[in-house]
């Protein structure tokens, strides 16, 4: 990929990033939004490309499966009440409980992995949307910042209002449908924390890229 301009120079020109870096906000690597994350890279990253923003679904989106796992934890305590279970020997009953907890642990780890690695990355050159669905299917979308036409976000529901998360939709010049049927456009960052901030940063980055392109033309 052709080098357009110096990456560090460009990032300094994004006021929102500069302010957040000064304040030291959004630094937790397990957080839903990380500004200028350290030791973070992705498969097709260029040498001069710098990750500005790393995000994933808001932690509140995990409440459903966490509640389900908590309920499932107590199920073996009560299955002795069922007449069929009383017919089982103690040995088989113990094996069943063990298999249940193994399955529960698998469910929790798998859900955590999908949340942890289902990220979107904003660099000084492009947007990368990494989606994992189940264990065997991944979908990765990449677009250049200068190909972005419009950025907007929406917040729906009580949880998203309380915890401040929503969907950020990025419209690109080559509008393509995502492989993921739950997403409208290819670049839908679903349940993003602080969507207003994300939209602001992407908009500012678009302006910087436009300015730099203009400067280069002159």
């Amino acid at each position: 990929m052709a080098e357009i301009f110096n990456s560090s120079e460009q990032i300094e020109e994004v006021p929102e990033i500069r302010d957040l870096e000064k304040k030291g906000q959004f630094k937790s690597i397990l957080g839903a939004l990380v500004v200028s994350p350290e030791k973070t890279s992705f498969e097709s990253q260029d040498n001069d490309e710098k990750v500005i923003l790393l995000g994933r679904k808001h932690f509140a989106t995990n409440f459903g499966w966490i509640a389900l796992a908590c309920l499932a934890f107590f199920v073996p305590f009560f299955w002795g009440e069922f007449p069929m279970m009383k017919a089982l020997t103690t040995n088989v009953n113990f094996m069943m409980s063990m298999a249940w907890y193994c399955f529960l642990l698998f469910y929790v780890i798998e859900k955590f992995l999908l949340w942890f690695y289902g990220v979107y990355i904003v660099t000084n050159e492009r947007l990368v949307d990494v989606d994992f669905f189940g264990l065997l299917y991944k979908n990765i979308n990449v677009t250049q910042i200068n190909r972005i036409e419009d950025v907007n976000y929406s917040q729906k529901g009580i949880l998203s209002s309380i915890f401040n998360f929503g969907n950020v939709v990025v419209q690109t010049a080559s509008e393509q449908r995502s492989d993921d049927k739950t997403e409208g456009a290819a670049f839908s960052f679903v349940s993003v924390a602080n969507p207003a901030l994300v939209v602001k940063i992407i908009s500012e980055l678009m302006e910087v890229v436009d300015k730099n392109t203009e400067r280069r033309r002159r």
Binding site: I29, E43, L88, V92, M95, M96, I109, F132
Partner: protein, 76 residues
Amino acid sequence: MENIDTIINSQITVSSIVGVLVKLMMLLLLTLSAVMVRQCILMNRVVKLPIGGSVRLLTWSYFVLMLFLTAIVILA
């Protein structure tokens, strides 16, 4: 002939059926945990994150635990 007699005389109880099903489930979970380890390695290759190594260690630990428990359950 002796084999048929053994089969006819053996008692199939609910416990024995459930026992076999549990063993099959443990084998299935062991296979899934191996898939999970592989997938975690691939995910870590796509996106390298600071605590990616620890997450990979977690999936490996789960796989080893499953291997150990599956061996116990099948031999029991």
